[in-house]
Symmetry: C2
Subunit: 340 residues, 2 copies
Amino acid sequence: MKTTTLKEIAEQLGLSVTTVSKALKDYPDVSKKTKELVKNLADKLNYVPNSFAVSLRMKESKTIGIIIPTMVHYFFSKVIEGVLKEAEKKNYMIILLQSNESYELEKKQVDLLINKGVDGILISLSNKTKDLEHLKKIIKRGIPLVLFDKIAKTINCSKVLIDDRKAAYEAVSFLIQKGHKRIAHFRGDLNPQNSIDRFLGYKKALIDHNIEFDSSLVYICNNNDDFNDGFNNAEKLIKDHGKNVDAIFAVNDLLAIGAINYFNKKKIKVPERIALFGFSNWFMSSVITPSLSSIEQHGFKMGEKSAQILLNEIYCKQKGIKIEHQKIIIDTELVLRNSC
Amino acid sequence: MKTTTLKEIAEQLGLSVTTVSKALKDYPDVSKKTKELVKNLADKLNYVPNSFAVSLRMKESKTIGIIIPTMVHYFFSKVIEGVLKEAEKKNYMIILLQSNESYELEKKQVDLLINKGVDGILISLSNKTKDLEHLKKIIKRGIPLVLFDKIAKTINCSKVLIDDRKAAYEAVSFLIQKGHKRIAHFRGDLNPQNSIDRFLGYKKALIDHNIEFDSSLVYICNNNDDFNDGFNNAEKLIKDHGKNVDAIFAVNDLLAIGAINYFNKKKIKVPERIALFGFSNWFMSSVITPSLSSIEQHGFKMGEKSAQILLNEIYCKQKGIKIEHQKIIIDTELVLRNSC
DNA sequence: TTGTATGCGTTATCAG
DNA sequence: CTGATAACGCATACAA
């Protein structure tokens, strides 16, 4: 089927392209009769505006790009759902890219999005991202940017995140109140801010409760394979510390679930012998045995909010309204289950 | 930062836009010296072609659209990863849409993609989709379309799927060989083809092994909340049949996991008292207790293959090569664990 | 109320 | 080897 253009409608009706264009957009300076004529024919011919032409002319694509580290991930899937919902409301489409926790890819993808002419960009940084030139480039180009969850403190743009430090602090404090004293931490990579903050929250909770911080209880998990990392480090933990450890605070649920699987296999009782606390509250955590206590991170809401802010900044930019960057903290909650 | 155009480069160099354009594309009829000059300046000015103009001119967007029923879903996430990987190789971007198992939304989203001018479309149909006019519209417009996993038999386009009937047959046969005789089926909605096929595979396995098919053992789960559906129907199943049921073949893992959770709660032993078999092999299934036997559906591969076919059809269309629609069956495998 | 002219940034044809 | 010109489809300032 041929796609129809304004020109064709104009010709068939003996009108000018201008009039047709205006008629379809309900300009006040077109007669009712003409409007009707035009609209009817447009309908009949299944006219749809050519989006490339519109974008070229209007300098906007009604498209936003989003880069996340990994797709197969409960939290990020939820975020995307939130973004999708907001975008749909405002008639925006989203282009999805996955950085695979690679800085190189992330950088390349930023370029792709810029070249594509997206109206705005949403990013959750890869764990490996230290150099931030690609983000600065986005800003220099005047493209609205919102960072969410895995952010870079020094970049001057809006951010949507949680208070990782506080959430970690609360989780670890809870473990302490339950009587645990030798609490290990399965932390993430050394680089990402939220990995750092969760570690700091863990440490502060210990100190505030007069428990000595023991760095030998901290295990770095950055092999990009959280389940097995959790499993293996659980083994290592027991080997290293034997009975001298009674809980684990893991930087994410998958790590904790890996550990639980190790303990189940070795008949090490959870939570009696060793308690666990996760982070992110994956659905999975509610159905395993024992169910895992975790921190609800409200991915959907984070996605919604991020998109809202981005869309608003796009709007402001177009209208020439000054943009005030925001930093939104999404609340977290402890979700207590049977693992502690 | 201002975005630079061919015109600007041309002006600064005292050349024509044409020459600049050609130089950047390494046309043979431009002198080496000019090419160098142009390329250097283009580099310096961070020139990137305006994608809207290119799309308008070339009538292609280097973009494909994908519609899936739900985002937060292990299988579909995997599919998307596969699609993303293939698309990236060929320099295509993907626009993601979620139908939320709603026919209305799916239809609307098809329109959006058409209007957006994507070069091709990938769809896994919603459970509610019966009317197929929107798919026909895509085809009528000459836009390459590939259906995957949840397909419509009667639509004339390429398809990538599994042999649902065979996979179900194998799973149920396995249960029978294990000695189970009263095997319930938690099936999906009545409409989707793969729900039907899995049911038929289940039924055929029973009949082929001389086990009477008992329709009261079939439970329809279509509340769009699989975990709870599984949980609730497990309760119902026990209420209805008491000891007179010894296994469940569920149309997907989440349903089976819901049932397992019910059984765990009620201290009904799995697999001793009742065995379970799932479908799709979600990661979750390997970490729950007891771990769930399931059918590996190779989502990543399905995504890769679907994208390959689509991209190829796009290529053929552009080159005027006749397109031969394909129907690819991706192999499945029984993954045996502790639930049976 | 309608139409003319112009430009958005490319690419392609064809002439010089 | 280079460039003028047209065209892709639309939107808008301005003229009639």
